[in-house]
Each structure stands twice: as C-alpha cells, then as structure tokens.
C-alpha cells in the first residue's frame, strides 16, 4: 500500500485532519503518477454525475415524443439531435447513464461480493470443499458471459432487474477464481494460524482476517467488472433481450432506428455508442492505474 502520511506521530486530535490530508496527498500523487488513470477517473465521475442528477441535467424528458422534430440533426435546442420518435438524444443519454451505472455497479458489487466470499471460503477450507467448489465454478466458467446471460434471460425474461441477475451470475466464478488464488497464499501466513489458535470461528477468520487482505486485487477486479457489466447490458439491450423500451438505455438506443437511419441520421447511432465506449474506457483506465498503484512490483515500471 502507498503510505504517504507525513512522518510525524499522530495524536488523537489531529487524527481526522491528518487522514484527510494524507488522502488528499494520495490522490494528488495518484494523478501525478497515473495521468491516464486520472483521465479515466474523470470520465467515470462525469458519467456518475450525469446519472445521479439526470433530472436536473436533461433538458427534456427522456421518453417525451415530439413528432415535430423527428430525426433532427444536433442543434442548440437538441444538443445531440433527436431520434426517429422525436425524443431528445442528449436527455436519453443522460438518463441512460443512470441505467448503465445501476446495472454496472449492482452486477459488480453483488457478483464480486459473492465471488469474494466463495473464493476466500474455497481457499480457507481447502480439501474436498475446495475441489468441489472449483469444479462447479469450472462448469459455470465454461459458458461465455453473453451466452450465459442469454440463457438466464431466456428463463427470467428481459427487464432491468433480470438483466442484472443475468450478468451477475457469470461474474461470480470469475471473481472467485482470482480471489481464491490470492487467498491461498494468505492462508499459509502465521496470523491465520494465530487466529485459529485463539479459537475464532470460521466466519470470523474469513471475514475479519482473510477478506481484508485480498481487497487490493478484488477492488481492481471490481472496476473491470463494472465496465464489463455495462458492455454486457448494452449488448443484451441491443439484441432486444435486455432493458426494454421506453427506459433509456444506451444499447437499446442503438437497436432498430440506429441502423435503419444510419445514413440519413448518423447521430442516432454515434452518440449512444460513444457514451458506452467512453464510460467503459474510463473504468478500464482507472482500473489499470489502480492496479499499477496498488501492486508494488509494478510501481517502478
């Protein structure tokens, strides 16, 4: 871990002040060492701000049809133009950011969380439990993400919640696999033996002693998962099997009209795709920079 606290002994009084100062120092240091990562973080923050305050940013309702202005090119009244139903594209993209972020973060946090517990437990218990769990995860891993998601969608149907379930399930084994390999190394460390000697229960050892020590690779993976989940949601919605009209979702905006009107109204196809690409790009850049910053082996490279 990067420890950038000033070299003086903290007292109880300046504990708060110091931690905020060292946080600020850490952030400044991160920006200086990882310019690309900072760009990524900025992109993520912009999209998050758009998603959180969509009602205030969007000039129009994302679902309001205005048949007087169908397939209008970008103008001051409609920053990104309008689609074939006369809906304002900019407003739809801003509201689409909310859908993308809800799906991205829910999938990453639930899938990652489940994977974290399974991965650490698998490493901690070892033996038969580990073997059985790994074989099970092998089976799920053998399904490409989008194929698994399609199969789940086929059962539960489409819609935001079902899309989240469909994307979360294939993320679990991918997370568990990575976490397990880091946890295997930690299991052999003395403080785990010490905790066991103290008579602590399995749950306490796993949650309090092992999980905190695999958080670095876990967090890096989580940022990657958010990007992957946003991409997967866009693909499913594009296929017509994900988020359904009239909800604003980027993948959905590319379906149907985008191809049909590609030559006469290219803005319908260009802007939603750019939104997807830039958001996922932001998460990938940030995740990469985070990995470089957290991995001491890579820091000097």
């Amino acid at each position: 871990m990067v420890d950038l606290a000033p070299p003086y002994a903290p007292t109880a009084d300046d504990d708060v002040a110091q931690s905020s100062r060292s946080w600020r120092a850490a952030i400044i240091d991160f920006c200086r060492r990882q310019p690309l990562g900072t760009v990524g973080l900025a992109l993520v923050l912009v999209m998050a701000a758009a998603g959180l305050s969509a009602e205030w940013i969007a000039p129009y309702s994302p679902t309001a049809n205005d048949f007087a202005v169908m397939t209008e090119p970008p103008s001051w009244a409609h920053l990104m133009g309008t689609d074939q139903f006369g809906r304002d594209l900019f407003s739809r993209i801003v509201f689409g950011a909310r859908t993308a972020l809800i799906v991205g973060f829910s999938c990453a946090i639930v899938g990652g969380g489940a994977g974290l517990v399974l991965g650490v437990a698998s490493a901690y218990f070892g033996g038969r439990v580990d073997l059985l769990l790994q074989r099970l995860l092998d089976v799920v891993m053998a399904f490409p993400l989008i194929i698994m998601a399609l199969a789940v969608i086929a059962i539960f149907g489409s819609g935001v919640f079902n899309v989240i379930v469909a994307i979360t399930i294939p993320l679990i084994p991918r997370c568990a696999r990575v976490v397990r390999s880091s946890a295997l190394a930690i299991r052999e460390v003395l403080y785990i033996d010490a905790a066991r000697a103290c008579g602590f229960g399995h749950a306490r050892i796993i949650l309090r002693h092992m999980v905190p020590n695999v958080l670095a690779p876990f967090l890096i993976m989580l940022t990657a998962f958010v990007g992957q989940a946003i991409l997967a949601e866009a693909s499913l919605s594009y296929l017509g099997l994900g988020v359904q009209e009239p909800t604003a979702a980027w993948g959905l905006m590319l379906q149907g009209g985008a191809e049909e009107y590609a030559s006469t109204a290219p803005w319908i196809a260009v802007f939603p795709g750019l939104a997807i690409a830039l958001t996922v790009f932001g998460f990938s850049l940030f995740g990469d920079a985070l990995r470089d910053a957290l991995d001491p082996k890579l820091r000097d490279r």
């Binding site: 149907g157 693909s235 594009y238």
Partner: protein, 323 residues
C-alpha cells in the same frame, strides 16, 4: 508427464457433464411452452389433446432423467435431435451456418495476431514512451468499444465513402458465398465483421503481449544475452519474444472460444446468417433442442481449447508437468 495428461483429460469429463446438466435444467426452467407457441397464436386457447400429441411428438412427456440421458447420449454421438421450431435436424441447421461464423472467427484471429504481437512488443520495448501510451490507449479503447457499435459505425463509413466515391452507396453482400466460389464477394462480406471482432480480440492480446514482454525483459538471461554482446534484434526475437509468447498463446486460445459469444452480437449487426444469429433466434423462439445444442457446442469448444492449451503448456514448460 503421462499422469498429468491423463489427469487433465479426465478433468474434462465432469466439466462437460456438469455443463450439460446445467444447460438441461436451465432450458426446462423456461416459462412458456414450445407447443403452446406452436399451436396457439397469441392468446387463443389450445386444444389439450393437440397439446398432448405435440408433447409426445417432442418427447416432452417422458421423465426428465430419461430426457437428460437421451440428450447427453445424443450429444456424445453428435446427434442433437430435431429443432423444435423448424423441424429440421439441429445438426443440419448448425452445419449450414457454421462456415461463415468459422471464417469470421479465423480471420478475426489472424487480424488480432497481426496487430497485437508487433504493437505489444513495441509498447513493451519503449515502455512509458509516447508510443507506449498510444498503444495502451488504443488497446483499452478496443476493450471498451462495443463491437456492435463499431460494426454500425463501419457500415456507416462504408456507405458514406462509397457514396462519395462512386455516387452510389455500396453495402456488403448478405448471402454467403464460399471463398473458393467467389473469393472477392466472400471477402467483401466477411472483412468488416472480422475487423470489428478482431479489434477487440487484438486489444486483449496486445495488453497480454506487453505485460509478458515486460516481465521477460527483466529476466537474468536477457541481461546475460546483452552482456555477451548479442545484437538487440536477436535478443528480442529469439530470447524475449519466444518466452513471452507462452501466455499470449494461451490467451489467444481461450479468446478464440469466446469469439462465439462475440459473434452473437456482431452477426446481428451485419445481418449475417451465422451460428450467433441462430442462437439469438433459438432463444427468442424458445427452441429447447437448438438452444441447448448451441450452448453445449460453445462450452465443448471452450473446454477442449482449454485442454489443448494446458497440454501445450505442459509440453513447453516442464515445471508444470512435474509440479
């Protein structure tokens, strides 16, 4: 060595059986009934006798265990039954669409390798230079860009450019012609999807090449090679790249299996009648037999490619077989 191979090959069996069971259960969990869809259009009521006949015809009235055993045994013999939707043998449906998907997959792989390995190597050699930053950005952009959007945009560009150059908009042909019948027509159809899929593929491979090269370039034997005055080009080609390519080959193998997933979306964009498109249709039509056969095919390819990569690895790196 033999022990390792036998163990590794045996490991394939539980994975495949597990996957088959999972697919089978998933397909049976689907609400809705293929026979209802077939017989009644919309909300019309269906004659229960006709429904029972339809169930018997498709074997849906037999015990689940028997249905599963039938399914597994059929898969083992490459007999996937009859498509519940079209009534034609599933194997026939897939075989008709496999060539185009396979061609795109192979071409995308070639594109990926041609782009990724040189660029990844250059990026590692001039680490943290502007070239490195450009290559890394291009690579991350490749992972971030949805391939279906790239497809739409590339069609758009082709339309506009052809319109500007020839005065008439040109679209890639839609019906598949084998390469040996009309190479030009075949390539003009396949090249765009191959490039859009290949870009993402190359991005992943590029990043792996770069990090593997960085690792290898720090090894002692590279320093030794430099110390004995070997030409830099020789060091890179013969000593560094050769060792760095091991994880890259693994990745290429695994990603090839995942290409099928990518094709599902790309074929939709380019309106190609391939296996990916068939998959989406099968899910939409609730065609159990077709869907389960396609999913199993994907899984089997993935598992077998993984097996091949692991065995190749063991052959190349003795530390694995004796470890």
């Amino acid at each position: 060595m033999y022990r390792y191979i036998v163990n590794r090959v045996l490991l394939v069996v539980p994975t495949l059986v597990g996957a088959a069971a999972l697919v089978f259960v998933l397909m049976r969990l689907i609400p809705g009934d293929i026979c209802m869809v077939r017989l009644g259009s919309g909300g019309a009521s269906v004659d229960p006798r006709a429904l029972a006949v339809c169930h018997a015809e498709l074997g849906l009235d037999r015990p689940l265990v028997l249905q599963f055993l039938d399914f597994a045994w059929g898969f083992f013999r490459l007999d996937f039954g009859i498509s519940m939707w079209s009534g034609k043998p599933v194997a026939e449906e897939i075989a008709a669409r496999l060539p185009i998907s396979l061609e795109i997959a192979v071409m995308a792989t070639v594109v990926a390798i041609l782009i990724a390995i040189p660029l990844g190597t250059i990026s590692a050699l001039w680490q943290n230079s502007w070239i490195d930053h450009v290559v890394r950005t291009v690579a991350i952009a490749g992972i971030a860009t949805p391939s279906f959007w790239l497809g739409i945009v590339s069609i758009l560009v082709v339309l506009d450019v052809s319109h500007a150059l020839f005065g008439a908009a040109w679209m890639p042909p839609i019906d598949y012609v084998p390469f040996w019948q009309d190479p030009l027509r075949n390539l003009s159809m396949v090249i765009l999807p191959a490039l859009t899929v290949g870009y993402r593929y190359s991005a992943v491979t590029m990043r792996m090449t770069r990090s593997a090269m960085l690792e290898v370039l720090r090894e002692d034997y590279i320093r030794t090679a430099r110390a004995k005055g070997l030409a830099e080009q020789l060091i890179i080609n013969r000593h560094a790249l050769k060792n760095a390519l091991l994880p890259v080959v693994t990745l290429i193998g695994i990603e090839f299996a995942f290409l099928i997933g990518g094709l599902v979306v790309t074929e939709q964009v380019f309106n190609l009648n391939g296996v990916g498109r068939l998959f989406v249709l099968a899910v939409q039509n609730q065609d159990y037999t077709l869907t389960q056969a396609l999913v199993m095919l994907t899984v089997a390819i993935f598992v077998l490619v993984n097996l091949a990569v692991d065995l190749l690895y063991a052959w190349l790196d003795p530390r694995i077989r004796f470890g």
